[in-house]
């Protein structure tokens, strides 16, 4: 029993210790942001790696999710004779929830894991140490550009996901099951509010971008510098990143849309 309590206490201490290191790490990385204004090419390179290379998976996933929403929404709404509201249902679901959440989950799986593996391997092969010994701070040269690129990329990917998803819903709703095209778009235009819906969705995706990229770069930097260590860190990025997105989504939804 004593051993169980000791282990529990040790685990709790380890978690808080890692959380503390993570916060210090985040602050140090933020300190590198001002210098990036003069060297924005570093951020652009990372935007390509985490953003442009994620476009295909975001686009394809967004289109399929939109199509599913169109079909499920139509089948439900038609029972109440409200199939004209399909455009609203698809758009609100995507802009408020699925766009930010699913794109952040996909980002954690594709770009987050790649960030962790890349930084972890740089640590394991002493590239980060070599950089330090060349008087170049890896926090500013490696971590800060990746963090900023992630914060910029995730909202853009979420916006793209929502836009492609609406096209998927349109394709099924208007193209396949025969909802009136004018009604589809006009109801969407009337009911989707730029502040309550779109802006709140953007805020969510910015928060998700910060948290997932922070987890990814921290796990890479904090990894045990072995092949097993990098493998575990990559797994932790996807698991912790995904859970953080889902947990924060509830908190943000409650704050934004709760009465």
């Amino acid at each position: 029993m004593i051993a169980f309590i000791e282990n529990l206490g040790e685990s709790a201490l380890n978690i808080f210790e890692k959380l503390g290191r993570g916060v210090v790490f985040f602050i140090n990385a933020l300190a590198g942001f001002p210098a990036l204004i003069l060297r924005f090419t570093l951020v652009i390179q990372q935007l390509y790696a985490v953003g442009v290379l994620s476009l295909i998976i975001i686009g394809v996933a967004g289109f399929f999710v939109g199509m599913v929403l169109g079909l499920q929404g139509y089948n439900t709404l038609i029972d109440f004779g409200a199939e004209e509201s399909l455009g609203v249902v698809v758009a609100l679901t995507l802009v408020r929830e699925l766009g930010p959440v699913v794109s952040a989950l996909l980002y954690a799986g594709r770009a987050g894991s790649a960030l962790t593996a890349e930084i972890g391997l740089m640590k394991a092969t002493e590239q980060l140490s070599a950089m330090e010994m060349m008087a170049v701070d890896p926090m500013h040269r490696v971590i800060a550009p990746r963090l900023l690129a992630g914060i910029i990329a995730v909202p853009l990917l979420a916006a793209l996901f929502s836009a492609v998803g609406v096209m998927g819903g349109y394709f099924v709703g208007v193209g396949l099951v025969g909802v009136d095209e004018g009604t589809f778009w006009s109801q969407m235009q009337d009911s989707v509010d730029i502040y309550d819906d779109v802006l709140n969705g953007v805020i969510k995706s910015i928060v998700f971008g910060i948290v997932v990229t922070w987890i990814a770069v921290f796990e890479g930097y904090d990894t045990v510098p072995t092949s097993e260590g990098v493998s575990r860190a990559t797994t932790r990025t996807v698991v912790h990143g995904s859970l953080a997105v889902l947990g924060l989504d509830f908190v943000l939804t409650a704050l934004m849309f709760g009465d």
Binding site: Q127, S129, A130, E132, M133, M134, A135
Partner: protein
């Protein structure tokens, strides 16, 4: 113990007799194990000083302590008169611009080609035009014999070539001091010969002060002006190559001659063999 370095010394580039690196009372622990226990080491200007010892004695750790990547638990490390442990972040990074380090596996940036690897520090710390950076990089690569390989990626290089590129990168900013971490490990005889001669020639031609960490005794002593042998947290012997060969210490004799048994036993401490075989270790 040998106290004088004068026999194998070359003239210091600065003419200053004060050591470039002065380590006093250095103590460093990993967990409860003392890696260094109150050791003193001097690295003199213009000399190539070797730090030798068995694997796991903390030779690489010593380089990291000198470079300020680790902090000692006690003692002082002065580099060119500056106390590494007391420097601010900015001062430490300024000092590192004057120190080059060759890592054991080269630590080349795998996403950049040879040219960009060598140009890295120049682009980070200088505002030289790209044409001048090109000239400097090609000259550094010429010095290590790899100018023709400047467009290759690190994955296309052999182990020895990687270390030579890393060497060119380390001297890109014309440092006052070079630190070499096990540069000869795992090299074939030809590459080993190239590296051995290169380290000595670079030290003399560029008026460097070099610290060479290695357990390749023959090669290291062939080029070192002075050597320290460390074991179990202590400096067990130091002196010139000739002086070390005439050491009275049985331990140092075993280490330098690669004897399988001696003060360092062949067998790891274990219980009685008879008991182990017959009773499965349960007495």
């Amino acid at each position: 113990m040998v106290d004088s370095q004068s026999s194998a010394s070359r003239e210091s580039s600065s003419g200053d007799d004060k050591p470039l690196v002065e380590i006093r009372g250095l103590t460093f622990y990993r967990g409860s194990r003392a890696i260094f226990d109150n050791i003193d080491i001097d690295i003199h200007r213009g000399k190539l000083t070797a730090i030798m010892g068995p694997s796991g004695t903390g030779k690489t750790t010593l380089l990291r302590l000198i470079g300020g990547q680790l902090r000692p638990h006690a003692g002082t490390i002065l580099v060119d008169g500056e106390s590494v442990t007391k420097l601010s972040y900015k001062q430490l990074y300024q000092l590192r611009k004057r120190i080059g380090m060759l890592f054991q596996n080269g630590a080349l940036f795998t996403h950049q080609n040879v040219f960009d690897n060598v140009a890295f520090a120049l682009r980070e710390h200088t505002k030289l035009p790209e044409s001048m950076i090109r000239d400097i990089v090609l000259m550094k690569l010429e010095a290590v014999g790899l100018r023709g390989a400047h467009q290759l990626m690190p994955v296309e290089l052999s182990g020895g070539m990687s270390r030579r590129v890393a060497l060119a990168r380390a001297i890109a900013l014309d440092p006052m001091m070079m630190m070499y971490d096990e540069p000869f490990t795992g090299q074939d005889p030809i590459t080993m010969g190239v590296l051995v001669s290169l380290l000595r020639r670079l030290n003399d031609a560029l008026h460097l002060t070099s610290i060479l960490v290695s357990h390749d005794v023959k090669e290291t002593l062939s080029i070192a002006d002075y050597a320290y042998v460390i074991s179990e947290g202590k400096v067990v012997e130091h002196g010139t190559a000739d002086a070390l060969k005439n050491t009275q210490s049985d331990w140092v004799k075993q280490f330098l001659n690669g004897l399988s048994d001696g003060p360092v036993p062949f067998h790891y401490p274990a219980g009685d063999l008879y008991e182990d075989l017959l009773n499965g270790g349960k007495s």
